[in-house]
């Protein structure tokens, strides 16, 4: 019976093989990686960022994240570095500084405890906090995760900085192994409650995978795909930040 099931499943798979080849071809091209506008809209605003830029002060950004905020031994191609490049390009004369704080293998609770010290040390205008992945892998109680993110964001707001949350990556190959939805939902809830923008990395990458911009199922051993995805994420994030701070072209010049 099992053999029969397997062969049926495989047969169904073979029928759709041409579709896969078509997808591969698109991936080889330079990625368009457009993001639909609704994924980059936020009702919440980044007032401190806006004030800094309009006041001609330097914009200091601090990215706090886990290993998915970097590419091993390719840090300059990871999305924080790409974000810096794009912000500099788009904001023209405004000086932009960016530092990255990677805390791999830490839960949101552990990272949240370090946030205030980090802010004191780096005095950023904007903290971009990427979290959730490690908690999802470890299966941390979603309620505990929510209170940790909640406390972290509250502490950051109290310290007087703007906050952007960045959620999990869309990782189709491990989707049957980790349960992302509770962590995604809770991050959304915290963002809504604190009225801060949430950069929906999960939905954006999901969109790229569905539209064929990237084949995120790919078992590639090379670093090229990661670099291209991070470049696109950095681009999208820069647009997201500029939109949320209402810094359109006319105001900058």
């Amino acid at each position: 019976m099992r053999t029969a099931i397997l062969s049926l499943v495989l047969l169904a798979g073979l029928l759709a093989a041409p579709v896969a080849r078509a997808d591969d071809k698109r991936v080889e091209d330079k990625p368009a990686c457009d993001v639909p506008a609704y994924l980059l809209n936020s009702e919440s605003t980044l007032a401190k960022v806006a004030a800094a830029v309009k006041g001609g002060k330097p914009l200091n950004v601090l990215v706090v994240g886990s290993r998915s905020s970097t590419i091993t031994s390719q840090e300059t191609s990871a999305y924080p570095a790409r974000l810096l490049a794009m912000l500099k390009e788009k904001l023209g004369t405004v000086p932009v500084n960016l530092s990255v704080e990677i805390q791999s293998g830490k839960t949101a609770e552990e990272v949240a405890a370090t946030l205030v010290k980090l802010v004191e040390a780096k005095s950023p205008t904007l903290v971009i906090w990427q979290t959730g992945t490690y908690d999802a892998i470890r299966g941390i109680d979603p309620d505990d995760f929510r209170s940790a993110v909640d406390e972290g964001v509250a502490a950051l707001q109290k310290a007087g900085v703007d906050v952007v949350l960045v959620n999990l990556q869309y990782s189709p190959r491990t989707e049957t192994m980790t349960s992302a939805p509770p962590y995604l939902d809770n991050m959304r809830v915290v963002a809504q409650q604190h009225d801060i923008p949430l950069f929906d990395r999960f939905a954006i990458m999901h969109h790229w995978n569905d539209s064929g911009d990237f084949d995120l199922f790919s078992a590639t051993h090379g670093v090229e795909l990661a670099k291209r995805v991070h470049d696109c994420l950095g681009r999208a994030l820069s647009k997201f930040v500029i939109d949320a701070a209402h810094l359109d072209q006319t105001q900058q010049n």
Binding site: I5, R67, R173, T174, T176, M177, P182
Partner: protein
């Protein structure tokens, strides 16, 4: 007006009795009754929906009820499991006493446990395959999920004691724990049915108040908290043991109907706003958002429980137990799946793994998702039909006194 209770009082019909006998020889409490096909139908539906939901980002998952309200297929599955378990083993408890009924329940628990371990083995095979083949620098962090493979000694033992339960393998451990306590539940119900339900609700409230949970490995908690989810199971048992009949007046009142419709409409709006935040997010008042979110699945949020009750109340009203299509050939696959729920549930989890594997290794895309989903449902139905056929013929043989499994070393 009909309700679940009607079927309990109805008389047994010879042709359906034969089909009902193998799976549920004692489905006749408190009066003699025929097999309640609506329960089978909705349990089968729940199994299909669970399969569709387990297939990651499946387009057909938009057909499943979780996108249109608070509750989802898990509630249906647990409620009906409580209902049928009380029906079958409640009878045994009345007829044969506590010890015999408990022994039969424990045998069932053992079967579910073995099924769970079997599914865990398949999961292990899949994850090991991915761990050795898949190496994408983009996902170096996500691959951390495989870290437990570095300590298989600990992970496998933790899985055997149900503390380590990978995603999609949470329902059976919940079912195991609930069934393990079924003898106590039935014993209490034999004494005072309503008091048992009150106790169950009390435990549910205590879960929320004192934050009761079962810890899991390597950390975290059981995804389906048994302290909370027992309420649905016990409520199902309570309905089976006469509660449904006593509720039939409430169920048939128009006030109930309108409350249910209003609540389902509210759930629908909330779900739509949640599903399409950029377009509809502005419709949600902040105070309501703050009070309502997140709707906990782990602890069976009261919004979810109420949503299930509303769905069930409307269902028993709209679909009478003698609803003609129940006998039609079109609903046959669903009913058959519902009648062999343990086997089909396990097959569904396996097919979700296999389907994901095909989507990952061969081809993705919406069309492929639809194909994999339909093939999966087809396989589930075919398997249910085979099991049914086998049980029917095995029963015939047993009546004739041939093919006694005990002679070959005993049957399960």
């Amino acid at each position: 007006m009909t309700s679940i209770a009607d079927s309990i009082a109805s008389t047994r019909r010879p042709e359906s009795a034969a089909a009902a006998a193998p799976a549920a020889p004692a489905i006749t409490l408190p009066a003699v009754g025929e097999r309640e096909l609506r329960l089978d139908l909705f349990r089968g539906l729940a199994l299909w929906l669970i399969f569709l939901d387990h297939l990651p980002n499946n387009i057909l998952a938009w057909l499943t009820i979780r996108n249109y309200g608070f509750s989802d297929a898990t509630e249906i599955f647990i409620f009906i499991s409580g209902y049928t378990a009380a029906f079958v083993y409640g009878r045994a408890m009345v007829n044969s006493g506590f010890v015999i009924a408990s022994a039969r329940i424990l045998r069932r628990v053992w079967q579910i446990y073995v099924a769970h371990v079997f599914l865990f083995t398949i999961f292990l095979a899949e994850i090991s395959y991915v761990a050795t083949r898949f190496e994408n620098p983009l996902y170096s962090e996500e691959m951390g999920i495989m870290d437990f493979l570095k300590q298989p000694d600990v992970a496998i033992v933790q899985a055997l004691i149900l503390r380590f339960r990978p995603v999609n393998l949470d329902v059976l451990p919940l079912y195991i724990v609930l069934m393990l306590f079924l003898p106590v539940i039935l014993w209490l119900m034999k004494w005072r049915t309503d008091v048992t339900l009150v106790l169950s609700a009390g435990l549910y409230a205590a879960t929320w108040y004192f934050d009761l949970y079962l810890s899991a490995y390597p950390n975290g908690v059981w995804f389906f908290n048994p302290f909370a989810w027992q309420l649905l199971f016990v409520f199902g048992a309570w309905c089976a043991l006469g509660g449904a009949r006593r509720m039939s007046r409430i169920l048939s009142s128009n006030v109930t109907l309108w409350i249910c419709i209003a609540y389902l409409a509210f759930g629908f709006c909330v779900a739509m706003i949640w599903n399409f935040p950029p377009q509809l997010g502005f419709l949600m008042p902040k105070w309501l958002e703050r009070w309502m979110y997140p709707v906990s699945k782990t602890d069976l949020d009261v919004l979810r429980f109420a949503h299930f009750l509303a769905l069930a109340a409307i269902t028993v009203r709209v679909l009478p137990k003698d609803w003609a299509p129940l006998k039609s050939v079109w609903l046959r696959p669903l009913i058959l799946c519902g009648q062999h729920s343990l086997e089909i549930f396990c097959l569904g989890v396996f097919l979700a793994f296999a389907g994901h594997f095909v989507l990952a290794e061969v081809a993705g895309g919406a069309a492929m998702h639809v194909v994999v989903s339909l093939v999966g449902i087809l396989i589930m139905s075919a398997m249910a039909w085979v099991i049914s056929w086998y049980k029917r013929s095995a029963d015939k043989d047993a009546k004739k006194g041939i093919g006694n499994a005990d002679m070959a070393g005993g049957s399960l």
